[in-house]
Amino acid sequence: MKAGRGGRGGRRIQEVLLHLALLAGAVATLVPMVWMVSASLMPTGQANSYPPRFFPSHITFEHYAELFTHLSLGRYIFNSTLVAVSATLCSLLFNSMAGYALAKLHFRGRGPVYRILLAGLVVPAQVTMLPLFLLLRAMGLVNTYVGAIVPAMATIFGIFLIRQYALSIPDDLLDAARLDGASEFRVYWSVVLPTMRPVLATLAIFTFLSTWNDFLWPLVVLSNDARYTLPVALANLVGEHAQDTELMMAGSVLTVLPVVVLFMLLQRHYVEGIMAGSAKG
């Protein structure tokens, strides 16, 4: 698309300019995160110096130590992990069953169910939060892990993601299994799920990421700091330690690092999922 007009010389220049632009963009995009890591390793007070420094004069891990010893960050990491993993497992199970059923199993009322769910997509989650809180209170689930994962256990988005993919499963595959005498659940478990591995991977990553990063709901439902997830703990920390820039940066690094690493390792699935999802236009 960008094939130049000026022959090989012009092409070279275009290539160089192109890569310069890309590089400039990448630098601008990554600078905040690099600074975050750099500042977390600075000795106390150095991040608040004038003129501002980019690199530490010498590297120290004291802030990370402080987070784990005095500020119980280990517990918050555990909480976040527990909540994110539980939500992901639930989401995989419930959404895949429902998505598959909506795509491949004909039952009366399937159409209306699909349309109701579609309508639900338009409603922003915040509309539900207050009554949901009151509901969980009545159920005794406030300030529990279960309460924290409730909104993520089954989602309309997840169902539709699965459904979209499941539509492309050839019916012959399913019928063959049925002819062999398999029950519907066996068909689902042994035939459909393995076929859906790519979209399940995508859904898992989506759910894990969004639950790990979720802020408003855990902020509302978790009142005891023993149960805080990382974003809530971090917001709590910044309320008390706003002056301690380096400490806050270390906290941010620890919050962001797991998901960035996860993303790096699994980006193929995640990216494919996003790009495929947009195909429906």
Binding site: V85, L89, C90, Y145, W189, V220, E240, A242
Partner: protein, 425 residues
Amino acid sequence: MTAALKSLPLLLALTACHSASAAGKDTDIEFWAFGREGEVLQTLMPEFEREHPGVHVRVQQIPWTAAHEKLLTAYVGNAMPDLAQLGNTWIPEFVALNALLPLDSLDSSSPDVSESSFFPGIWRTNLVTGRLYGIPWYVDTRLLFYRKDLLAQAGYPQPPITWAQWRDAMRAVKARGGSGRYAIFAPFNEWNVPVILGLQAGSPLLKDDGRYGAFGEPPFRRAFDLYLDWYRSGVAPVLGINDVGNIYQEFERGTYAMWITGPWNIGEFRRRLPREMQDKWGTAPLPGPEGAASGVSMAGGSSVVLFRRSHHHAVAWQLAEYLARPEQQLRFYRLTGDLPARTEAWRDSALAADPAAHAFWEQLQRVVPLPQVPEWELIATRVFDYAEQAVRGGMSTDTALARLDREVDQILARRRWLLSRAGTR
């Protein structure tokens, strides 16, 4: 992927197990504390736990900015602790919610804790419709922290006593300091200062037993104009509390010569300012419109309260008593700089001889409680919203105060309805 799904039941079981409370012979009680007090409180607990074997106190620390909403959220969510530190302006609110345990019966059987042991103005803030709902823990009022040397250099060896002197002193300091330096640090997103000035000018803040706002009336208007004048004349910078970076560094550098703040900063100043600065700062009671007697301040502070829904009233009360002991009050003072509510503790040599604390002793004789309405916290927020509009947004005093009154009236509508309903029952 399928293997992961198969582990789901196990994981759900683990989650349920973890959520269940650990039942045991020991008693666990939970205490919520805020800010610096929260950080320090845990160090006082081992001695209490030694005196009461089998009792374990868990202190949860919450920043002040989130404290009020976390308490309310916990109330609605049925997830309250056993005890908490409660700012005494919040006591009416939690009493209205029926969240606090009345302490009269517990208190009458306790010889150690009685009304006469505490500052009268402070004790009164714990009484709602005649019943006791909290034990005063530490007192808070706001007065002047200032740089003695900068004030002396500007021609004021003694701190100002009247509003007129105050204004002149600040102008002199500003003139000497030049650009980039100010006479007073008064963040516009704190409601204490305009409210205190209002109290000094004789404003009741709310009228008709807390049914309507009185911010547009002459006394408050006079105080508000004085307050705005600080910013307009340049003696105070137009900054919020979060904008200043490190206020202690700035105080040390002489960027500000005065700051209206509270007793916890005695400890902070001693901790954060270098040794050579320690004889350069001091505290003084607030100047008043007509002189020392009118220089009142607000009767603030925190109490220890017990929540109704707790299952451990007896143990929680013992902890409240423990914190009210003069020795514990003094220990707490030494750790935080927070001033004891127990008058007996003030006779301690360390406190009596502390020059910085002496100004607080004086000021505490002249404190006025804030309106005891449950909506106070929200009203206070609106006060500084409009102060900000007037200071930074160019809104005129008349408009700001008129709108403030209108909003306050609307906020109090529920209270009026409830009061009228109670009246007809």
